[in-house]
Symmetry: D2
């Protein structure tokens, strides 16, 4: 339990922040897919620490080494095993934490659940693990893109600075043009300067990522429990630091009337469309062919470079001064992670749907 | 895929709105549990149509008939099969819909996914199916309550009317004292009158349910993919009409700093506690012993008694005038459903955790 | 755990021998399949008690009542819930057994595992449960037969009386022409008379069923753990009283040399074939297009009408004289069960294979 | 699908015979288990090629490198990732096979299933993959042995040479005293000489392994589909070259009467025992506390150093002369594999049983 995601296209993940390597196994990948390894590496680089002034300065090459499941550049249908070596573990940075439960980290819960923990760099609870997801997601995205399906995420809010527009009014191809990964270049600059000032104070700040999936065919999703929206919600909440998920109209739906919220069907050419898309592309747990879009809220990173009171394993009150190399705001690096998890869900569910057609 | 929920304590659900019966199978229920059948029926009654002036007037006895897995009043550890007969199906009410895709319903997506659908009363996509969950949830709640764990939900918002207080400032034992299921009796009256006025206009309105789980032991949750919060998110998004889920600080975390958001550990007696609970009782995907609390956003019911444009299966534009018996606001009846799904998650994960201790 | 079989085409089973009903839920059945309900009932009748002089005389109509998932005679893709009411439970026959652990039955292990048991008629451990599998199997067989795939089982041995021929030298369409279900009518008569003489002595006898699956397409099976042969082995061993399973050459392979055992490939028309079929139609866990055939060994029924020593729940030695209505030999009624389980495996794996082709 | 085994204690496997490495991920291992790494390596050495004159002469160090899930010598409860590097791949040996389907190998079925295959050394279908299982099994065995549970396998037959005794009349501690792994030293010599003479002829021979599990507590097993015997059958049939599985009385039960076959219960001290053990330690799919024992039939290895006719991918008839380094008889090296798969099943099911006790 716990470290495998998906039913047909399955990712199993392993690895701690400061172990020899992190890695994973992708089981169920369709055979005969020619992989673009540069694209996979590129996704890893988007998530990589040390990529800009507003992220953690840990240096990791984050090079993926495939062990199996690929032959002469193509998938073989057998499990794809891969590892990413850990290189720049400064475990000494964490020696002061051996015995301390950092506030709003997972030190205490891991210790209590397992009775033991690898405290170095957060061990298994470190977001370093998400690099594994990015590898699998990059493969899923390649397969989806051959079907015309695009999964695109971007930073839509940092602290109080919101992009203030619908995804439809943004050019998502510009997302990676700035280090914040907000497609509005003006807003991005404001976000960047907010993050820098937060960092200067040794503090951190929350943020929001919006994700859009285009061209999912109608009919993907498995009611009643495995609705497409339910699996997306789970996928996003499986990412470190996520506190909220909303699809389509989201929390705004609470104050809306049915007569406002309902999405009117009409026919455009030979396609069934809806005039509005409060449903967020999913009705009854099944994709309806419209864009699937959702928001994901990320809390401020728990590691701050300020004094905090906490306790240690002997239940003594201690004072903690954060060290280590951490992100002042998690969302710029979380963009490829959200895309990866989104792609894993869509591909897996597409494959499940295929199984029904004999 | 799709109709089973849980890993150890598993519910499999079946049934359409206007078929002979709906029902389910609970597999993995611990043996030797003495069941209180009145309590189970009472939960069904909380979800039942026709219970008050602000819900659908369909009349259903909603009596559960257990078929197996219970002997002399106790669970035997074998699967608990049960059915709830459908009685007051007015399928004629839906004959005008045979061929029409109602806006923001699942008619279109079911038709496209399966190529066929039982259109009567929404078929499988009807919220009637959730009665099955309430039965399983009522059993889970009984088992949890023997461990001191309580799962309590209530209506915290209807349209713009919000309860405006934290769950800690409310007496949740009063939730069922009014037909809205809001523990603040004054606010409940305002909500009730809003729902009635919405209903008079043939319209519907959205709402929010807050749920609190007390006394979950530390250590429940399966990182990295099956975090307790991730499974709760999925469970809630598997309920009809849900558009948003947030845990603890939720979407508010976006604008917070780490120094504000972090939950400071301290020791109270022999217990580790946190001074604040922005984490919502879960850190790193694992329960930390604090209250688990979350909000669930429900959209306005899609069936409105107003004229709407839509299309039919021949892709012709048609005018639809809603008929049938529907809820003007779904949240009063959804309270026991949220509790049921919450209880299923907590119990299942508690059992998974037990499996690790040899 | 335990009461669901399959990954995509899934059967969940419930029910005790003397409860209100037994039943099941089929999830993942392809939509738009027109069902032949007479054929389903016919399969149940093949398994039914009281069908001949050589089986138990319990009288059960064994009529299946579908609750959901079928609309206007066709599957809808939603879960198919069904029940079979228990009618002729003579629970009093078992009152003498309340406290006694019958030898080679599951009384003792159920009691110890669960701490409680429904002792009436063996409760959940009764082979009555297999009627549920026959219903699901009958649906699977209909879907498979539309693809040209046939699953045919027959009795190949009773005690020392063996049919003594390969399935290829038998006309399997004659299997149901006698009450033993052995396609060789002469051997069948000898088997019948053996069973009758065994019955007269209040004893029981073991037997063997051979099953052949024709026309499975090449490529079905999921190495390395979920090989098609591995899943068939599990399916057969999930049936009451099974003690052995062998595929193709089976246990005879032990004494064979590679040069004898290897199946030489050749081309016939446009089809790849093998000259021999020691592989039993499966190589590397994947079907190769040849007939899949296997043997299943069934032990003699544990209930005998003879005095036996055993113990009761107080660990006292007691003398037991078998009562109740039981089969002197299980294989005639087990033929449709073997076919059902075989069909469930083949269909499920066929659907898994479909999921890989995007 | 396919490359993960187990429900709670789960092994996911990856790797091809001639890729960079093979490896796996163990998810769900209990935390805080001190591992004996020498014992793990020792098990790998028992399976290793090149270990004696009667096995393949491929040279592999087969050193396992753990990547995660272990901290300061103890399991942490997080996934245990590991790799075993491939070193002595003589892929050129296989270049003559690029296009040829070797008889009774998986070349043809892999090619047809996936449309592509890594033909070097059999790729994924090579028994090399089983080293991964041996690692996981060695960990499972250590955990089981702390509970007093022993899983012991041995060679009971090679060709026509059978050990001719029950496991109870053998000293299983002597199994590894000879290169055949038969605990009867005299019979072992005969087996060894048979294997050598078979090898001299460029041929191969089948064999049988018997496995005994001692001290499994009563109550392990998940009826009705996931019976302990059903899972053991699947586990064994997931091993390369297996053609038959029988538990307890096995195929002999066919000719037995109930009065002979039934295992009489009696009380010995405070323990419930049975006088005979035809049930093989499992009744109704649940362990009864007696020894669990079973036989596994292995076919002769398909690679022979003799001329064979076969076809290539263009459907041309070709003559094949086996090359490469292969085993004349698979059973000596399969002993640790059978033990590994047996241990994985018992531990996983023990953990499932624990989950039920709240």
């Amino acid at each position: 339990m716990g470290n495998t995601f998906g039913s047909i296209f399955k990712l199993t993940s392993f690895g701690e922040s400061h172990g020899l390597s992190i890695g994973g196994v992708i089981d169920g990948c369709p055979a005969n897919i020619k992989l673009d390894f540069d694209l996979i590496q590129q996704e890893l680089t988007r998530r990589k620490p040390g990529q800009s002034a507003i992220v953690t300065q840990r240096k990791e090459a984050d090079v993926v080494e495939f062990q199996s499941g690929i032959f002469e550049g193509k998938t073989t249908g057998t499990p794809i095993g891969f590892i990413i070596k850990n290189k720049d573990q400064k475990s000494k940075d964490y020696s002061h934490n051996i015995d301390v439960f950092r506030p709003s980290h997972a030190d205490y819960t891991y210790q209590e659940k397992y009775g033991v923990r690898d405290y170095r760099g957060g061990g298994r609870s470190s977001a370093r693990e998400t690099a594994v997801r990015v590898v699998a997601g990059a493969i899923a995205k390649q397969i989806l893109s051959q079907k015309g399906i695009l999964v695109q995420a971007y930073v839509s809010q940092v602290g109080e600075i919101s992009v203030g527009k619908s995804y439809q009014d943004l050019d998502l191809s510009l997302t990676d043009d700035n280090i914040v990964r907000c497609p509005d270049q003006v807003v991005a600059l404001v976000m960047e300067s907010l993050i820098k000032s937060i960092k200067k104070n040794g503090d951190t700040i929350g943020g929001m990522i919006t994700c859009v999936v285009k061209n999912t065919p109608v009919g993907v999703g498995e009611p009643v429990f495995d609705r497409l929206n339910a699996e997306l919600a789970k996928a996003m909440f499986s990412i470190n630091a996520v506190k909220g998920f909303e699809l389509g109209s989201g929390f705004d739906c609470i104050e809306m009337k049915g007569s406002e919220h309902n999405d009117e069907f009409y026919v455009k050419g030979e396609q069934v469309k809806t005039k509005t898309n409060n449903s967020g592309g999913i009705q009854g747990g099944i994709s309806n062919g419209e864009d699937i879009y959702f928001n994901v809220a990320f809390k401020p990173v728990a590691t701050i470079i300020q004094k905090q009171n906490t306790i240690n394993s002997k239940c003594e009150t201690v004072e903690l001064l954060g060290k280590g190399r951490h992100d002042p705001c998690v969302v710029p690096r979380a963009v490829p992670i959200v895309e990866a998890m989104g792609a894993l869900v869509i591909l897996d569910y597409l494959m499940i749907q295929k199984s029904k057609v004999l």
